[in-house]
């Protein structure tokens, strides 16, 4: 009896996504339903690591077999779900699902900043966006995507916000670690160019790679070096 297959049967019949805790509860109470079955009893207490391994193997197998339904872990809970390619047929089958309206651009931007930088205050979010976020924050709170998580240790003790489990479900994320380019956006430190030439305003020599989202860790800011002495004597280039 493979643990993997047992989990498959359980998740197949589940009415909702199951967390590790729930899966372990199922395994723990199974012996009550099987008289003196050693196998069942043997699996009564399974280590979490074993469980995760089995689940991941299961998910992998389905992926390898290119099944139209796969095992996914969203917000820490496991469930079988269909692949997006089959949506037209499933929508025809299930009919119209009530879904909340899509998020607006400002809402997505605010949410992005909040998700990567949490816990974060409104002021910090506004600092990045350059505009106020009051209306948007209200929407996000009402949708259950963000919530207050505490207060900042500064003057005024402003509220800090973070994302919720609903947020993870809404975007199909396993956990906050699954955020795209998490390392980079959590603490964006842009590398300062070697020298900012003053004769030609705004010109810099940094490679444009910094602009694209990468998954590599950014180096820390370098010191601003001395200005190019050759530029000092030249007349200002900018027209009025």
């Amino acid at each position: 009896m493979e643990l993997k297959l047992i989990l498959e049967s359980v998740l197949f019949s589940a009415q909702k996504p199951l967390s590790m805790k729930e899966l372990r509860e199922v395994l723990a109470s199974a012996p009550e339903h099987a008289q003196a079955n050693d196998t069942v009893r043997a699996l009564k207490k399974v280590r979490e690591s074993e469980l995760i391994t089995a689940l991941e193997q299961l998910a992998n197998e389905h992926e390898q077999a290119q099944r139209s339904y796969r095992l996914v872990c969203v917000a820490g809970s496991w469930q079988f779900v269909t692949q997006p390619e089959y949506a037209p047929w499933l929508k025809a089958l299930v009919g119209h699902r009530i879904r909340p309206p899509r998020l607006s651009q400002p809402a997505l931007e605010t949410l992005a900043i909040l998700a990567y930088r949490q816990p974060v205050t409104r002021a910090e979010i506004e600092q990045v966006r350059g505009v106020t976020v009051d209306g948007v924050m209200q929407t996000l709170v009402e949708r259950g995507l963000v919530e207050q998580v505490g207060r900042a240790d500064v003057v005024g003790r402003p509220m800090t916000y973070g994302t919720t489990a609903v947020f993870l479900e809404y975007f199909g994320l396993r956990s906050l670690e699954d955020l795209p380019a998490a390392d980079e956006l959590r603490r964006l430190v842009v590398q300062k160019p070697g020298a900012l030439a003053t004769a030609d305003p705004g010109l810099a020599t940094v490679p444009p790679e910094q602009l694209a989202l990468t998954t590599q860790e950014q180096k820390t800011t370098t010191e601003h070096t001395e200005r190019d002495p050759a530029a000092q004597g030249s007349p200002p280039a900018a027209p009025l």
């Binding site: 910094q210 602009l211 900018a238």
Partner: protein
């Protein structure tokens, strides 16, 4: 200008506009000519002003920053305000570029979120659970807007009657209503929102009762519940552990929507 129907890009904020202008020039953020950018930005603001569009404060702040940067560029290096090597944050050009780069990256991240959002719409779980998973999560917490909505409905009933403009003494104070509500909530649990306004004969009494309710909610002496969106609001006394020791005045009431007593009476 009324005859013209100009299709005008409305930007969320100054950073949004700057990124747009930079994209238009098809240059890298690091290579952008800030002076030229400043000029274009100001032109845009001017056009907005001509078209009688409201300009948010943030745009003006950005405009002044850009002017500052532009003016600095016009001075020969010796006369520019010195930027120390340690003063990392002081170079306004660098600060602006840093801000633009950061914002752009989050914009890209937001686009990714949007893709994920769309993808999720096409994914169906094994046994679609009850609507709870697909519909917006039911909020057990009642927001101030639900309360205001509810009291508005009550106030509407009094709309027709107030033809006479007699001025009556306010026979009820908030403190009295507070006591009244607490008593009601102890007698009947849970209390329906409409129960609070039984036997009330005037708008101002409705308002005073509502204020008392808000105060009690703020003091955590009463809890409100709404079992389904736009459903009935239920009120009950909070368990003793939730109550803070000191009472406070009505002035501290959390009327976040900014409604004062006068405004409630005027709005109809």
């Amino acid at each position: 200008m009324a005859e013209y129907k100009v299709k005008f890009e409305v930007f969320e904020g100054p950073l949004d506009l700057l990124l747009y202008l930079i994209k238009k020039e098809e240059v890298d953020i690091y290579e952008v000519n800030l002076t030229q950018l400043a000029t274009q930005f100001i032109e845009y603001i001017e056009t907005m002003r001509m078209l009688d569009l409201e300009i948010a404060g943030e745009f003006l702040v950005m405009a002044s920053t850009l002017m500052y940067i532009k003016s600095r560029e016009l001075l020969p290096v010796e006369q520019q305000a010195q930027v120390d090597a340690e003063d990392d944050g002081q170079d306004p050009r660098w600060e602006l570029i840093r801000q633009l780069v950061e914002y752009k990256k989050f914009k890209d991240a937001a686009a990714q979120f949007q893709r994920l959002e769309a993808r999720q719409e096409d994914i169906f779980p094994r046994l679609p659970g009850k609507l709870e998973f697909d519909a917006p999560m039911p909020r057990p917490e009642v927001s101030i807007f639900d309360l205001v909505n509810a009291v508005n409905a009550v106030l509407k009933r009094f709309n027709q009657r107030e033809d006479l403009r007699d001025i009556f003494d306010d026979k009820w104070t908030v403190s009295e209503k507070i006591e009244h509500l607490l008593r009601l909530a102890s007698e009947r649990s849970p209390l329906k929102f409409s129960d609070l306004f039984e036997g009330i004969t005037s708008r101002s009494e409705v308002v005073v009762t509502f204020l008392a309710l808000l105060e009690l909610i703020r003091l955590k002496q009463l809890t409100v519940l709404q079992r389904e969106p736009f459903g009935d609001i239920e009120i009950c006394r909070s368990p003793p552990s939730a109550q803070p020791p000191e009472a406070a005045t009505v002035a501290d009431a959390p009327l976040r929507s900014g409604l004062g007593v006068e405004e409630i009476q005027q709005s109809s």
